[in-house]
Amino acid sequence: MGLAWQWIVPLISISYLGLLFAVAYFADSHSGKSSSLINNPYVYALSIAVYCTSWTFYGSVGRAAVSGVGFLPIYIGPTIIAAIWWPLLGKIIKISKGNRITSIADFIASRYGKSRGIAAIVTLIAVVGIMPYIALQLKAVATSLNVLVHHLQFGFSDEKFASPWGDTALFVAIILALFSIFFGTRHLDATERHEGMVAAIAFESIIKLLAFLAVGLFVTFSLFDGPSSIFKEAFNDPQLIDLMGFSALPGGYASWFSMTFLAMMAILFLPRQFQVLVVENVNENHIRKAAWLFPLYLLIINLFVLPIAFAGNIIFPNGGIDPDTYVLTLPIFGEQQWLALFAYIGGLSAATGMVIVAAIALSTMVCNDLIIPALLRFQLLISEDLSRIILNIRRGVIICLLMLGYLYFRLIGESYALVTIGLVSFAAAAQFAPPILFGIYWKGASRRGAIIGLVAGFIVWTHTLLLASFALSGWIPESFLTDGPWGITWLRPHALFGLDIFDPITHSIFWSMLVNISLLVGVSLFDKQTAVERIQALNFVDVFEQGAKGGDAYLWSGSVSTFDLKRLVARFIGPNMAEQKFSNFIKINRLVLPENGQAPSRLVAFAEQRLAGAIGSASARIMIHSIVKGEEMDLEGVMRILDQTSQVIEYSQRLEQKSAELEAATQQLKQANTRLKELDRMKDEFISTISHELRTPLTSIRAFSEILHDNSDLALEERQKFLGIVIKETERLTRLVNKVLDLAKLESGLMEWNTVQIDLIQITKDAIDTTSKLFEQRSVKLEITLPEKPIMLYADQDQIQRVIINLLSNSVKFSPEGSGLVRIGIRREVDGIGLEIEDNGPGIVEDEKIRIFDKFHQVKDQSGENLLGGSGLGLAICHRIIEHHKGHIWVESEPNQGATFIFILPTTKPKNS
């Protein structure tokens, strides 16, 4: 007890921060080299663990002591979303690298047309939203310091507690501000990553993990006999049993859901998380390992939360000790002063890590998105070297931020538990999720939509959480909570529109997300994006597609000299750095700079990117624009031109498409026309042929009729002969007309079919009987080879018989009189069964084999003689009939070797007809 703890503890604290600074300095001196300390996934994962602040270190135990497993959603959320880090975070990082994004405000502004307005809004929300969080860390450090020193000094006596240094939090704020300035604003070139800071954060993550584990092990295995003994004792206490279930959390399952959701969004979109995850990321591939290393870290640091919480509740049963301080007070209770000191260092690590990263991230945003645009507007940046001014602005901003945090802590911090303040900040950061997530997956999300959604969500957040917390701390009247502002009950912050089934956080998340998302989507749907917005939307959404990067280079079609451009960049990043970057770029891209010194648009775009790295995309755009000639044309004008250009491009694309369509249509028309011509020619030929076929018999009939009429003195014999001719020709004409009508019916589909099961053998025999006279007349022999058993098919009996008769008559006509021989038999093929009829006639030449089935194609012998004397319709009709039955008919023949006609019918039952 003799040690002067009130001096030792601050001294050790300062020394520890000095050690951190050494780590940072060492890492910085290796930055950008192959020996870089932070260029590996382990440091990356540890730096992400800046998520675990003093809120985790002290607050988890405090929350577990009050609500059991209720602390878990804050860690379950990040674990869930880490599973999709590779696609989601990978895309965000790729976009950020392509656009030299410096902060979350810059990211959102860049997506929505490099808008200054939206950058300022995001910055404001971040500052207002994160301020309570910074206050929380100050409170944690100040409280832990006081508690530690007090109990080390005086044990657990009831002596009134008084800080030995007056206002501890103020000192803490000042010291943290100084360290943040050391870590974050040492570089002249603000575009570089903060490698030293990342190394220090990773180091702190190790320290806080080890400290917490040490306390956990001590409490579990030294104060108690392992976890089972703690839980056994806890089960004996009815109050503690309640903490084991999920019911301990106020708000129940809805609360679990909203907390998990909040944590999922917070791990990505809290400004400090965005800083370490995206801005400080060295290599996208580190995400793969970090996606399981970080959840593992969360698991380990949470292992002993419940044992410590229960142990604290058992050892300090009367609520005399704040559960938020169990991590410190339990080691002191066990008389392990140095362990308590180590625990305090762990808590200090957790708090300082958060404050430093948050301060750097916020100062970048405030400087780039609020102060520089304002200075630009009022033309206050007249100095040649602005890099130093910018760094000084950032330093000033850091001090202001910590002072504001201190003020907030003084105002309301005392009245609030750690965990609630943290959740209020999470809820503010969640407002960034809609514009970012919609922004990188939906090209239609517009600037106006994003702004209106953000502002509305922020207003809801302010009303339901921030103002409510003011009311809770008595800073504004309590009636604000109970009766609503101005007594309007449906505006009560914890029961908007009478919705009172949720806990305050869930309630706020529900309403703010509802208005944020629906306004973003709703306004975007009816909004017309400007050119820059459209280009950036494409750059973001299609970042993985070829050629998406740097698509807005041609916006700078105005003229500016390379000298002016370099001088502008030099003002922000220093002349040496500017010279080096420019000559590098010119060398790599093999740019040939024209004589008159005009900078090519790619160089202008490059300069804009360099500037964006220093002062944010929105301000960079304005700076570049201020020196590109044709200044009087404002950004809107450029956009208008681009709009027109893109309209012209669109129009010409449409024209091209039209002309291609037209060409295709013309081609189709040509084909149709050719086909029509062919059909017309065929029809013409058909009419001509049919005319010939009809006129020939008619000619004989008329001629002989007139002869008979005019010559009454004809001999009887001659008269009989002529009348015989008339009769024969009339019969021929009748047959012809019938065939033509049949064919017409077949072709137009008007033929009535009577499809039944038929026996092919039987109808073949019938057909042979019918034609037997023809064979006798010409003394042609017929060889029949048919099986005994019937062959059953589904077909129209009359039509198939007609085909067989037709083929048999043809074969007789073709066979030589006297020596003719016709064979008929069954033919089997894979797709069916049918007949083959072979003759020993002159055969059919190759050319004719297909054409003989055409209408009016009369078979001629090699000399061209029309042997059949037929109409040329018989085979055409056969062809149609067999085709109707889904069969085939064809001829096999060699000249002078006879011909074989075959038809095949399918054996399966037809589906229709």
């Binding site: 001509s688 005319s691 010939h692 076929e693 006129r695 020939t696 008619l698 000619t699 004989s700 009939i701 008329r702 001629a703 002989f704 007139e706 002869i707 005019d710 010559n711 001719i725 024969k728 020709e729 001629k860 000399s863 061209g864 003689e865 029309n866």
Partner: protein, 125 residues
């Protein structure tokens, strides 16, 4: 001496009827059933008139007509073309190739006879 008429057609019954009609008028008649036979008959002895069917196997009527007109020896031979294809284009083609007249089947026997007479009478003048 009776006028010599050559009848060329592949339809036997039409040949028969024409033969009867021409003989009835007192002409001397020869027949051929295709283009080749027709040219053979013409080479043997040039007829005064040819009744020439257009659609025939081997050598059609147009070709025969063309061959007759191409040779100076047969310039006095009159040609009446017969066709069952009733289109104007056929008629024009026949006349263009040097036919003296053109008759569409089926024809009125009296008119045909009158036409034959007319053409041969003009010749005799």
């Amino acid at each position: 001496m009776p006028k010599d008429i050559l009848i060329v057609d592949d339809a036997q019954n039409i040949v028969l009827s024409l033969e009867f009609l021409m003989k009835n008028e007192g002409f001397s008649v020869r027949v051929a059933s295709d283009g080749d036979e027709a040219l053979k008959a013409i080479k043997e002895q040039a007829p005064d008139l040819v009744l020439l069917d257009v659609m025939m196997p081997k050598r059609d009527g147009y070709e025969v007509c063309q061959t007759i007109r191409a040779c100076d020896d047969w310039k006095n031979t009159r040609i009446i073309m017969l066709t069952a294809k009733g289109r104007d284009v056929e008629r024009e083609k026949g006349l263009a190739l040097g036919a003296d007249d053109y008759v569409t089947k089926p024809f009125a026997t009296r008119e045909l006879v009158a036409k034959v007479r007319e053409i041969l009478d003009m010749e005799s003048k």
